[in-house]
């Protein structure tokens, strides 16, 4: 009995990180949730009486508008990234081993470069005196510079530019494991090209589609830097709202309530993918295919 107990004992080596995660991750998030049910006092201090006003406030029309705008931004960013990535991931998966490696590196390298710098370089290209405008002006295709930043066009380009690798990679991981002879089998059995894609390729690459969409949708929903730098000052998104509530109006309880929603949202999506993955693993194994990489592994792979 005693021996069995010690065999199940957690290894001492993980204790430092365990302690670190508890002190710098669990407790801070706990405090945010705690703050969210408090109230901002008259002098900006936190009043420790329990109430749910902050959550109610988040459902006021102005805030719902902001949530709706962010959802829309995240949704179309995800859709565009999905449409752009799928053919590329398919192409990568069907290339020779050497070409695969090279293409993979080419997709990952921009992802490694600093996020602010990527946004900045985009501004150099799209700006009023940017590359595109100067070329078009020189060719006399336009008479005045096109306005491509400080509006929603700039935000869309920025979002797609930034999030594209997040989508390509999980999609590639899924398609790379896909057995392409299944498609030949479908052809042989008389399926048309469209039928084969819809009935064979898409269902079997669904895990990659779901994982990639989540990688894009969740951070895109809370994004605030891209709208801030490429969208001008006109529109507010959830990320902007949270940042301003925390740093400008200093209403921490309300800001905490808003972020709690974001945490809940991310967790729910994560759980959904994990449960789906478990089911898909089973299906894929039956189809004699190897299981797709779990979500966090894919994220690490993006960085390695």
């Amino acid at each position: 009995m005693n021996q069995k107990m010690s065999r199940r004992q957690p290894p001492l080596l993980i204790l430092p990180s365990l302690a670190w995660f508890i002190v710098f991750l669990i407790i801070p998030i706990g405090i945010v949730i705690l703050y969210s049910v408090r109230h901002k006092g008259a002098y900006g201090q936190v009043d420790w009486s329990l109430n749910l006003d902050n959550y109610k406030r988040a459902f006021e029309p102005i805030y719902l508008m902001i949530v709706a705008r962010s959802l829309w931004l995240a949704a179309y960013t995800t859709a565009i990234c999905l449409a752009l990535s799928y053919p590329l991931a398919y192409f990568m998966a069907r290339s020779s081993e050497g070409a695969k490696k090279a293409l993979l590196a080419l997709v990952i390298i921009p992802f490694w470069t600093n996020f602010v710098i990527r946004v900045y370089s985009l501004k150099l290209v799209l700006g009023e005196a940017g590359t595109i405008n100067s070329v078009l002006l020189k060719l006399h295709l336009i008479s005045a510079p096109l306005q491509m930043v400080d509006n929603s066009f700039g935000v869309s380009i920025g979002m797609v530019y930034n999030y594209l690798p997040f989508m390509v990679l999980p999609m590639y991981v899924a398609l790379d494991k896909f057995d392409f002879t299944l498609m030949d089998a479908a052809y042989d059995l008389g399926a048309t090209k469209t039928q084969t894609i819809i009935r064979v390729l898409l269902p079997l690459s669904l895990p990659g589609i779901v994982t990639g969409s989540l990688f894009v949708f969740i951070p895109a929903f809370g994004e605030f830097v891209i709208p801030d730098l490429l969208g001008g000052s006109q529109s507010m998104y959830v990320g902007t709202l949270i940042t301003e509530t925390f740093l400008k109006s200093r209403d921490w309880p309300f800001g905490s309530a808003l972020s709690s929603f974001l945490v809940l949202f991310a967790m729910a999506a994560f759980m959904f993918v994990l449960s789906r993955q478990a089911a898909d693993d089973e299906n894929l194994r039956r189809a004699e295919n190897t299981a797709p990489a779990p979500l966090p592994d894919t994220k690490v792979a993006l960085h390695v």
Partner: protein
Amino acid sequence: MFKRRPVLVAYAGFLLFFLYFPLLVLSISSFRGGPTFYHWYRRAFSDPQLLLALRNSIAIGLGTTVFSTLLGTLAALGMRKEQFWGRVFFESLLNLPLVLPEIVMGLAMLVWFVFLNITLGLFSVVLAHTTFTVSYVTLIILARLKGMDPLLEEAAADLGATPWRTFSRVTLPLLLPAVVSGALLAFTLSFDDFLITFFTAGVGSDTLPLRIYSMMRFGVTPEMNAISSAMLFLTLGAVLTVFRLRKD
């Protein structure tokens, strides 16, 4: 293979062009418009505020690397034990920083530091960065450990090596490439981070990304092209090194 799909090849080329063109424009413009090609680099590297930001970034990156490599290596070695009480909990903790929205991590840490009366500055940023980089380091080293032949360690033990000697003469040398690439990754992640730093750096401890961000809000200058390109080249160097290490 390529010849059969001209449309797909062209399409892939177009997307890669979309990804690389802005970075190319950035690096080209950093060399142009001055009396010498390095003019703007010289200007950028003599701007005291940018230099301070660079120093802060490096200091934070090094601090983060030391902490997270230490914690991550230990945790990965601990995780070799297949079954223990609380393993699932610890695994979820490891994955949490990868799935939590960065903005939430940043502000949660801000709230906690203010609560604890920790002055916002370089130190608080190191604490925050270590929290999200430990996971990456641990997972990378763990992957290497899983691919390692356990027979080598058993052989060392059979030949009479003490556990410590087995570790220092067999396990550690085999693990070293993974530890180094984990450390490099931790440094790069820290050096590149914007959001978490944005929340946890106090006044006067701007890092390079923060400095570029605030300069960008006032417009585009040639010095910014230079400093951004310098960062770009630095990251590329780090990436290529990591790729090399992983090949071995």
